[in-house]
Amino acid sequence: MIIRFKFSRRGPVRYLGHLDMMRYFQKVVMKAGVSARYSEGFHPHQLMSFAYPLGVGMETDGDYMDLEMEDGNDPETVMDELNAVMNEGVKISAAVALKDNAENAMAAVSAATYELIIDCGAPEEGRKVIKAAVSEMLASDTIMAETKKSSKNIRPGIFALDIEPEENVNDQIKISMFLSSGSKLNVRPADLFDTLLTMPSVAGSGLSFRLSLLRRLEIFGLTEDGRNVPLDHADVL
């Protein structure tokens, strides 16, 4: 059976890369002594996969890991056993068994939500500038994101982009976004942030902005009838 775990990571542990995060979870499984299944061969390894690699520096409240286990395990019990040996900063918040024919987590990904905290020397003025840039971005049909390898139009992949009202965040500038992910059109939040900084109102402001926190909130899969639902929702299992 395959169990899908939803996990969060917060604090200093966010500076781990994806491969190190995987190695971390493998050790957690060993420590907990839960009955994971292994590959064949001289150096058997756990059959573990992740929905969406977590970048260095990114926090998450809703990432997913699939683990192949011996049949008959109760997902919630395994979750408790894993949480009992987990490090501070990483926590599993939900566990569900996949149906036999479920898509693997990575293939199922269709979208993700994020929040970004932006540092600016003059937060009040900065907020206005970012707010204007967000509007500029949403108003255009084409937004070209330049990456090292290519340049692509990410506008169709921006499902939502909002700036948090001032009263909720004190001195911080916080934006939230809902972005297309996965094989069709993958919009990376860092690319979107970089592109945001090229908007006319930012460029003309003379202010400098820095990303101080990037947090993924949820990863979604697409149901048969075309809805985006969290990856542990019954309709995408």
Partner: protein, 625 residues
């Protein structure tokens, strides 16, 4: 209050962390790292391995001391490693003080900075640590606002080149005297006694060496003459401290597990300490004498606990010569049984190749991918007698034949060049030995059974004479001699019938020369080390950052005749700067071995027959078996 690892405020900003390689080298919070309440501990001890995180985290000694210190309620032990060159630059530019991983607080505020000194080529990194921490380089310039800087590890068997940089050296194994030292420190602090008086009192503890309490004299050629205590209460000789019963000593069952892949990324059990072999080139073989084993039951219990507490998927056995461990058969059988159930790999140390080790290797490794390893260290039998390496050509060829019959076809061989009394034909003999092994393969394995062909990989390093070995009197080869010998070996390999099956590599010799100077130098070298550091030397153990020319210039600029330390045969009666250390092994014994080497005369190992080295005085281990 204990701050949780996840709530710690990091010393580096998000922006800095995102701009450097492997930021989690600096963020701490790894599984089994220890957070304590600073208000409820009396001593903050920052333990340092002066190299990059992945190297430092692979070191067993720090894990032992970290676990032991943190098992004491009054002590909080934290870790720090050398910031890599990318962060080093940022910390200098922005004046960010060096911080410990756990609390993320400045190292300068600690009570102790303990530095483990594992190889000579980390000496400039010691200055980097002090520099970034804003601690004066020289002990004499420090005040009560600075931590006590204490050094340990194998390089303290010649402390003198770095003696001026340390307040204390701890001579021997850390498990033994630290409690006494920290008790004294707490006592002094409660009584309002400062660092100077504390250091004077500390020398009453066995194994504690305070370099500033000695005067060193040199002759008209600036050669070392003597080192005398400045006061009556300072001991003239410092006795090595060692654990007498390895089954009673502290061993961590919950070592810190690095998040990023360390060089040694696995659970480790130390099966024994010391070595019976008496190889004449080997410093570890002498300074960790006598060999002391742990019981099989102790090791099994600890292995299981460590695996449980870390989640490691691989276990390795550590010692200088694991084949000599008397309980090896039962230990490996039980470990293989346990680990195969738990899907844990066993990483074998290089074992003496025989029926038993091949059987074990067959069980835990994929024959197709693995190789058998021999360390003859020298090519000819005469040279192996000179260095007292017990392995014979017959052992190697028989072992290889057995391995070939068992299905292996890869052989690795390790050699040294530049050994004392070495001739050109000894360098050629390396090639002949490789060729003979290939021949054994073709004679042993019928053509139709050959899967791929035999691959022989030989590599040689250049020899550095070390203190407390029979070769402490020996001259080193000059760089051109090293390279000439490597060329002879290379040419000889090319002249062999089976040359296509042999690949030969040799290591760089620039590092070797500098290592040689630092290994047998004296206190005058501290100025050279400071000079080279101030002129950009750092991470000298790394080829990409090491500069030979920088070092040679530093010796010249500081008026040190470096050649005098390494290229001459030292007279039998020369006083060495390290003679004040009582390692248990007597100088007369080493001198006798030096003479035996010159006659290519073999000596026995400690189990065959006692050589009378002097270590029986410790009354433990193989000496009392």
């Amino acid at each position: 209050m204990i701050v949780k690892a996840e709530d710690r405020k990091l010393a580096l900003t998000h922006e800095i962390l995102m701009s450097i390689d492997k930021p989690s080298r600096y963020t701490g919070g790894e599984p089994n790292s220890v957070m304590k309440d600073p208000d409820k501990t009396k001593v903050r001890f920052v333990m340092c391995f002066p190299d990059v995180y992945e190297i430092g985290m692979s070191h067993l000694g720090i894990q032992i001391l970290y676990g032991m210190f943190n098992s004491w309620e009054d002590v909080w032990c934290e870790r720090v490693y050398s910031p890599w060159t990318d962060l080093d630059k940022i910390m200098r530019d922005r004046k960010i003080p060096l911080f410990s991983l756990e609390s993320q607080r400045p190292v300068k505020d600690a009570d102790f900075l303990g530095i483990t000194i594992q190889y000579e080529m980390c000496y400039t990194n010691i200055l980097q640590i002090l520099d970034l921490a804003d601690i004066p380089f020289y002990s004499k310039d420090r005040t009560d606002a600075d931590p006590i800087v204490i050094g340990g590890g194998p390089c303290i068997y010649n402390t003198e080149p770095i003696a001026d940089f340390f307040d204390i050296f701890y001579i021997g194994e850390g498990e033994v005297r630290y409690r006494e030292l920290l008790d004294l420190y707490e006592e002094c602090r409660e009584a309002g006694i400062g660092r100077e008086e504390f250091l004077k009192r500390a020398v009453a503890i066995e194994g504690i060496y305070v370099p500033s309490l000695y005067d060193v004299t040199y002759d008209e050629n600036m050669r070392f003459v003597s080192m005398e205590p400045k006061y009556d209460f300072v001991p003239a000789r410092i006795k090595k401290q060692l654990v007498k019963d390895m089954n009673e000593a502290f061993y961590p069952t919950a070592p810190v597990v690095p998040f990023i892949r360390a060089t040694q990324d696995r659970a480790v059990i130390e099966v024994q300490r010391g070595c019976i072999r008496n190889c004449r080139f080997c410093q570890a073989g002498q300074i960790y004498k006598p060999v002391r084993e742990r019981s099989v039951d102790y090791l099994l219990d600890h292995a299981k606990a460590i695996l449980k507490n870390t989640g490691y998927e691989e276990l390795s056995l550590s010692s200088l010569s694991t084949s000599d461990y008397t309980g090896l058969k039962r230990l490996l059988e039980e470990l293989i049984d346990y680990c195969s159930q738990k899907k844990i790999n066993i990483s074998l140390p290089s074992l003496r190749i025989d029926a038993f080790s091949l059987d074990v290797m067959n069980k835990v490794q994929d024959i197709k991918k693995s190789s058998v390893t021999f360390a003859p260290e020298a090519g000819s039998q005469r040279m192996r007698n000179v260095i007292n390496k017990g392995l014979t050509k017959e052992d190697i060829l028989n072992g290889a034949e057995m391995a070939f019959r068992g299905g292996w076809n890869k052989v690795k061989l390790y050699f040294m060049l530049g050994l004392p009394f070495e001739e050109h034909e000894d360098a050629e003999a390396i090639a002949v030995l490789c060729n003979d092994i290939a021949k054994v393969y073709f004679d042993t394995v019928p053509k139709e059974e050959r899967k791929g062909s035999v691959q022989i990989t030989a590599s040689s390093s250049f020899f550095v004479p070390k203190p407390f070995t029979a070769f402490q009197w020996a001259p080193m080869n000059k760089p051109e001699e090293f390279l000439e010998k490597a060329k002879i070996t290379k040419a000889a390999v090319r002249a062999q019938l089976n040359q296509k099956r042999i690949s030969y590599h040799y290591h760089d010799c620039g590092t070797t020369i500098i290592e040689g100077v630092l290994a047998r130098g004296d206190r005058r070298l501290s100025a050279s080390i400071e000079y080279v550091y101030r002129h950009g030397a750092i991470f000298d153990a790394w080829t990409e950052t090491f500069s030979y020319e920088n070092w040679i210039k530093a010796f010249e600029e500081t008026g040190v005749d470096y050649e005098d330390y390494i290229f001459r045969t030292r007279p039998d009666d020369e006083e060495f700067p390290w003679d004040f250390i009582d390692s248990g092994v007597r100088k007369e014994f080493l001198l006798r071995e030096w003479k035996n080497a010159s006659m290519a005369k073999k000596s026995s190992n400690c189990r065959e027959q006692c050589m009378g080295c002097g270590c029986t005085g410790f009354g433990c281990g193989v000496c009392v078996e």
